[in-house]
Subunit: 240 residues, 2 copies
């Protein structure tokens, strides 16, 4: 039952499941086959399938629900949002967020964007600029850059009409699920347009947050750059 590849069986099974996820064989929110079914399909024991699923569940790609099945994780569940929006009010109680679209543009990737998303300079790209408003207070202004070929039908209207996180829209309408992201944070001073957006004086201190988001197989599919007002909010980071 050992395979030629020097890799434990459960890891090979995990990779096969990852392939199926990437290929869209099972959609976000939908159940994958039961452990016994998968064990039969791959000709391994249920325990080995279990270890493979454990690994994917640990990475938040799958969600187990006892008695019901194992499901493809989705950005629809509210608790997932706080994994990607690290800004918390000083008071502790997260308020509802309102999104206001400032700009939507189809353009071409510059060299910097091309480098971040592993595409070619001049390839089609989409730019979304928006403000996030917490309890009436504009707190974040950010630009979101996407590779155009993955988001062909995306329009300003679809962004404006969509309720909920952008990542929810991306996965339901375009089959692109953001799995993880890396952020780089610096301190910055508000320039004139940013200051106006966030209703702060010029040269007000802000966080400058840059994010690269990755889909399955560590494919970079989004680049963000935002200014965060931290007068009444803080950026939460857990070290372990």
């Amino acid at each position: 039952m050992r395979s030629p590849k020097f890799s434990p069986l459960y890891r090979q099974i995990r990779d096969l499941l990852l392939d199926s996820l990437q290929a869209g064989e099972w959609r976000p929110g939908q159940p994958i086959p039961s452990e016994m079914e998968l064990a039969d399909r791959f000709h391994v024991s249920q325990g080995t399938v279990r270890k493979a699923i454990d690994a994917l569940a640990a990475d938040n790609l799958l969600v187990r629900r006892q008695g019901k099945g194992t499901f493809v994780a989705t950005h629809g569940e509210p608790q997932v949002r706080f994994r990607f929006l690290r800004l918390t009010p000083d008071t502790g109680q997260p308020a509802a967020v309102e999104r206001q679209l400032l700009d939507f543009r189809r353009t071409r990737a510059g060299t910097e964007l091309a480098r971040q998303l592993l595409i070619k300079a001049g390839d089609p790209a989409v730019m979304i600029k928006r403000v996030l408003i917490f309890a009436g207070d504009p707190v974040v202004v950010e630009e979101v850059w996407l590779p155009g070929h993955l988001f062909k039908g995306l329009t300003a209207a679809s962004v404006t009409e969509h309720r909920g996180a952008l990542y929810n829209l991306f996965e339901t309408q375009f089959g692109t699920r953001m799995v993880r992201a890396e952020e780089r944070i610096k301190a910055a001073l508000a320039d004139a347009p940013t200051a106006e957006c966030l209703r702060v004086p010029l040269s007000h201190p802000l966080l400058l947050v840059e994010r690269v988001s990755f889909s399955y197989a560590d494919q970079p599919v989004e680049w963000r750059r935002g200014f965060y007002k931290t007068d009444c909010h803080f950026y939460r980071s857990e070290l372990g």
Copy 2:
């Protein structure tokens, strides 16, 4: 073999191991008993001990080394440091860090510190103020606050003489191992003394980073407050 507590066996074993770690039965860097020994001690199968150890290894409390044994994790290994020091040079290559002690004081906890460390206002406390210098460039100035009763023999000399991370000193000299931490980040402007420390102009933008560190059993045992200069470095955060 089921226990009266409504908790799976492997979790009970994990808690027992956690108790031993907290009690200092095995010191950082030392091996714990083999899986078979522990299985005999707790009257469970090796597989159950294995699951308990898996959980602790996932939380970075234990480190497995095939063929050698399972060891209590330590802050001595260099790769652990980057889990707690999230500042990275823009160039990518982390430089050696130099630490310069500015102040060392035994004092009493104020209400804010008492709240953070779950001690009483007026209890003994230790304050360490220092600068972190990367490749000759002062990048971080921070205050570290500790509960006095856990660090009775700590002196300015022991901090100055120690080579390596503070957490390394804490675990080797005082048996207190920092397991995880929570940080809150805001944007701030340099005041006069901070500007002088970091060699930046007044009102230069800085990150304000507050940290609470926890030992075993989520006991808070350290509070930090630091200013980070992000001209040539950035704060790294991973979302997933």
